[in-house]
Symmetry: C2
Subunit: 297 residues, 2 copies
């Protein structure tokens, strides 16, 4: 399907995408570049990429598919660096957790080639990063959200959709505004809450003692607090308005529960917890008819 | 080690304790009672209990070890119901998530037999409940907190410790005040936050749409929101002061992060997230030297 993947950023996400395309026999050759030459070399040794390129521009030269898997804050500079290597037929994608800001970066960085860019957000990841943890199955059964704009080449949206579907992901298409609102709610806010929770805990004199008693509930609830600080700093700032709006709605719900507790309102408290419990028990990953209805076909 | 276990409440926790004691050959016979006769009968059919008793009092008659595994709110009535079946040598324990209120219930309910009661909180569980999910290994490698008071028989504390150690749990002893403060921080508050988060999400017109896009981060963070509403209503009310205090500390930490976001303070935000991330990455279940130092031996 593709001749050559130009991979910018040989980390967990980029490396997994390369491995997945290779396993599905959807690409013949992967040329990779990372800011750190030792990372690029390691990716080559691990067989994630076939050729190590000395620059981002050289990595994309001759590629018919390009994936940017760099920190979101580095997007604009990277788009600028590769602009002259992008031909009319090249499909360019990213893997960023926020889309409004990356689209702005692509518009500024790619300029005339902006129509080639299909913004993509695969809903997958690990708390560990780095090429060593890349795996071909990272995106299998996961959702990938594409957020093309009006000027995005329709043919590229289709090719993007086929590439992700081809490696086993479920493709959903929506506007970047809808994406950023949704992920503020289901991803960015939970991270913010988990960071705040850990900080509140460790700021207490007895914090370490408390932590030593934590069990499986704590383990799962707080897992995302271990996420990468630089990446999440950028995500929270890039999607600031939406995240703060979600945080406000959360505070209100927390206040409601606290009020019920303070009042000793057994029935009210049980009802409120039951609503949350029912909603969570009914949730299944990737199963909503609503999402399926919007699936790119 | 024990002749007969009197089990009051044949659910996930009680059933798992009975199975574990049997597997470790620490008990010869289990007599069980549940409020619902069909549950008691089911426990007998599954081999979790050997004899189904028609009342709580009859379940404990002749037992040298008694486990109350009933909703915390039902503790006092249950203690009252079994009081006359408790002999001087009987070890009585519970499995409640809060300890101050259960101790009060035992004091009122058991009266002269109060010294026989060793308050216990095994840090284990599942989001599913019921005897069908009971398993002998539920407590293996988990912590169990014992919170005896001054008048508690030392011999019973030792027997309690041996019973839990014998089924593979790590026993920690502390005051009930220390227990309730710690679990407000590492268990009760996370549940409250998860409930509030789900409610805030589903109260939004787009909530269902958002939920359909949620991934693995959401899954783990919100897992405890699916917990039992009646049980958690009781836990949150029983430990109200401590939980509200923890919630206040959490709000402050959330405000601090929001302030950094609003100010666009890259360095401050990264530092704050890094502190949380580092603390969470360093956490290991049951590994703290501090907790080990307090381990009952």
């Amino acid at each position: 399907m593709f001749e050559q993947l130009g991979l910018i950023g040989c980390g967990l996400m980029g490396g997994s995408f390369a491995l997945a395309l290779k396993r599905a026999k959807l690409v013949k050759r992967v040329v990779g570049y990372s800011k750190s030459p030792s990372t690029t070399e390691r990716a080559r040794q691990l067989g994630v990429i076939d050729v190590a390129a000395p620059s981002a521009l050289l990595a994309v030269s001759g590629a018919d598919i390009v994936l940017l898997a760099v920190p979101v804050a580095a997007s604009e500079a990277t788009f600028k660096a590769i602009r002259h290597g992008i031909s009319t037929d090249t499909l360019v994608m990213d893997v960023g957790s926020t889309k409004g800001d990356v689209i702005e970066a692509a518009r500024n960085g790619l300029q005339k080639q902006f129509a080639n860019f299909v913004p993509a957000h695969p809903i997958a990841g690990k708390e560990v990063s780095g090429i060593e943890h890349a795996e071909a199955s990272l995106f299998t059964g996961r959702q990938v959200v594409l957020t093309p704009v009006k000027t995005t080449l329709r043919s590229n949206v289709q090719r993007a959709s086929q590439a992700w579907s081809g490696i086993g992901a479920n493709v959903v298409t929506m506007t970047h505004e809808a994406h950023d609102a949704a992920f503020a709610a289901v991803s960015h806010l939970p991270h913010l809450l988990a960071f705040a929770y850990l900080n509140a805990l460790t700021d207490q004199p007895q914090g370490d003692r408390f932590l030593s008693l934590a069990g499986p509930g704590f383990r799962d609830f707080s897992r995302i607090a271990a996420s990468d600080p630089v990446m999440w700093r950028d995500v929270l700032l890039a999607n600031r308005e939406q995240v703060l709006q979600q945080s406000q709605a959360f505070r209100k719900a927390l206040e409601d529960l606290e009020t019920l507790m303070t009042a000793g309102d057994l029935q009210g408290l049980e009802q409120s917890i039951a609503a949350a419990s029912k909603a969570r028990a009914a949730w299944k990953p990737n199963s909503s008819a609503d999402a399926l209805a919007q699936q790119d076909s």
